[in-house]
Symmetry: C2
Subunit: 498 residues, 2 copies
Amino acid sequence: MSNLNKLRKRFSELKKINYLNNLLQWDQQVYMPDGAINDKSNLIKLVSKIYHKKLTSDKTKELIKESEKIENLNLIDSAILREAKREYEKAIKIPIDLVKNIARTSILGYNAWKNSRKKNKFTIFKPFLEKMINLQKEYGDRLNIGKTRYDSLLDEYEPGMSSELISKLFTILKSKIRDILKKIINSGEEIDQKILEQKYDPNKQWEFSINMIKSLGFDFNIGRQDKSDHPFTVSLSPHDVRITTRVMENYFPTCLFSTIHECGHALYDMGFMKAIQNTNLAGGASLSIHESQSRLWENMVGKSEEFWHFWYPKLQKIFPKNLNHYSQENFYRSINSVKPSYIRVEADEITYSLHIILRFEIEMLIFKDQINISELPELWNNKTEELLNLRPPNDSYGILQDVHWSGGAFGYFPTYCLGNLYASQIFNHILQKDSEIPKKISNGDFISLLNHLREDIHQYGKIYYPKDLIFQITSRELNPEYFIKYLEKKFFHIYAIK
Amino acid sequence: MSNLNKLRKRFSELKKINYLNNLLQWDQQVYMPDGAINDKSNLIKLVSKIYHKKLTSDKTKELIKESEKIENLNLIDSAILREAKREYEKAIKIPIDLVKNIARTSILGYNAWKNSRKKNKFTIFKPFLEKMINLQKEYGDRLNIGKTRYDSLLDEYEPGMSSELISKLFTILKSKIRDILKKIINSGEEIDQKILEQKYDPNKQWEFSINMIKSLGFDFNIGRQDKSDHPFTVSLSPHDVRITTRVMENYFPTCLFSTIHECGHALYDMGFMKAIQNTNLAGGASLSIHESQSRLWENMVGKSEEFWHFWYPKLQKIFPKNLNHYSQENFYRSINSVKPSYIRVEADEITYSLHIILRFEIEMLIFKDQINISELPELWNNKTEELLNLRPPNDSYGILQDVHWSGGAFGYFPTYCLGNLYASQIFNHILQKDSEIPKKISNGDFISLLNHLREDIHQYGKIYYPKDLIFQITSRELNPEYFIKYLEKKFFHIYAIK
């Protein structure tokens, strides 16, 4: 076997070991009995150890070195080598003790965070957060990718992205979104939400969600849906992509939109070209690109008028008592009502980005050593007030609301918002190419849209970096104007703003 | 860390890798989407490769050698070392190509067997069976444990067992069981089975099975039940033991008794003492001992008068339309009716052993090179006629009925029958110690019995070999008389034989 083939095989095996970890994670959140939690953590640790040992071995180093000598690699092979090298070089920069320390602090931090949030006492979480921040600073310094240590952290989720670029994009976004929000609030229009807060039979909600994603192209021959506390998508192979949802009897949007969101992720993971399915390229280009797919389906499709033109009559038949008194227009407006709130995960399409910008600004201060941990809750509340005109009544509605920091996921939040930007730029491009898409959606044809996404994005997996991918598709760099225009068009119409 | 501790840790990690494989197997049979089958097989292969590499490494050899120098090892450590050495020495005897060849033939053979059974054509399966038999002959010869190559194969499932001893036990059993069967048939009594063949709501059957095993001591904090085509039990850790069942709307015993059977296996796996939970001793002493637990609960408890004294009134409340016209006596007789049939898995407690003896006798001939593959179907049918006075109308009712041989599991069948022998000898012993057990069962106390089993068997895991374990518990070697007496007492009463 040639060195290149050996490299391919080695990273294909690493990918498989990663799938094992994914299976463990899936099982833990979906079916594992409670008493197995410690054993399961130990299993996950063991699999990570096996992975790390194989990744950082001399054999890996040698195969990369030898493969680099080969000239004129084709597109796929050069991407395989690039990703292999990237992962290897990052891994050897981090001492194993730091990896272990982060893992340990993550487990302790998660419990402290849960407890802290429950008791609404930031002081419980504070020492763990402080320790994690210090570990992540060390981690970022050691990685030393990009101009700042925060750039190093970003690189974990978003290869090639810089905090400088995000700052630029978010500055524009913040100003424009605040303008839109002001106009919406000034319109004086309040949209009734009662339609969504009736009792909806959980079994029927579940069935509806299954039928819905089937129509979107989710292939149950290579995927499944289950229930979990926090919805997620996970790949156990390119032919085994699983999503979860949560069903709330008294709030209809939870199950429906989380299902569509996760389905958007899954469609990406189900669509890699055959040539890369068994390689280290079988994954999303980045978290933002992944998020662009879930958000495109959830918001730009799932919360569009065309979508409900097709689905609402069907939904009415399933829930006649709940919906016969409401028109499609009522329903459409309800799922799109805008109202500033404390909690990110409950935010509408307009205010969502402001929640993310808040987190990004705080993370920047933290990693530039410009703020003390003890000042964070106050800063959070001030920024919420500044951006959303609301002051969290306590830390559970403020700094304690998200789990991410307890696990050391700094640099992660921006990807949610970048996902919106990518989604709207891509969607705009597809609408240019195929102006019939809205009409097709009204008629229940979602596969035409899926085929565009497959062709432009899904098939490539990690072959291209995000910035190259977006340029290849749209012939432009990432630009927030598409998202802003999308929001203005949609919400100015809903709120009758001229 | 001492060499002994390193050895413990190494085999604890191997055990964990094994749990990974178990999780993959569980997932494959319970929730995996169909399209993932190839990827999943490759994952299982990778995990087996990781396992084999670690097991057969020089490091393992060295740690065993160094640990053997330690004097006065305690009971647990010497068993850990014994099992480690046993596994290592077996593994290095088998060339990796043979392992791979068996795995490959197993996959092809399984498909051929399914096809062969469906089309009722032995010739489709024949070449694969022949190849597998030749591979297993080589495997047995290379292992070279015991007096014959069949003994080597037996050792995979039943350490320390010999074909000589099985022959001796089965000769007695065969003669005695045929006597009992003759008497039952001569009694002229035919038991009505209609009671079991009504429509029973699958959801209620499922719920009943869950409540049933809760009462038997199945701990849902460290276990769960799911559905699969073929019921099985699997451990993903000592705190994560999973069983599956199958529900048939028109045949009540399927779900109920397979649930109790698997629960019996699970109770064993849930009951290892803390000191061995994280070691290579966290498993059943052998397949027979494991089977003794499932059969004790399924047959000796689950099909006893006392058991239904407690449960039948409850069952009547759940299925009033089905059961109000039938007495507890009717029900008890129905689940215990004896009737020779072609299919092993449908056999009653009396004829079951004859099905096993048939298979054992054929396997002996095969591995002594005393029969040609092409003669097997005829031999099978002749033996069925001899033992059960029935001639299979075709091979699907004969030699093609079981999956085992397609996967190379020769030497496996006898453990089902040995399980009955162990079960009755152990149960007899417990009844001697605690004569109140039947009364306790009538009153719905199943935990007293479980506690005896935990004390005598479960806690020890693999610390003792089967033959030492049975002697330690009952102060006698394995003896078929307990099983024969149990059968005579129970079935002579049911069939009013004096």
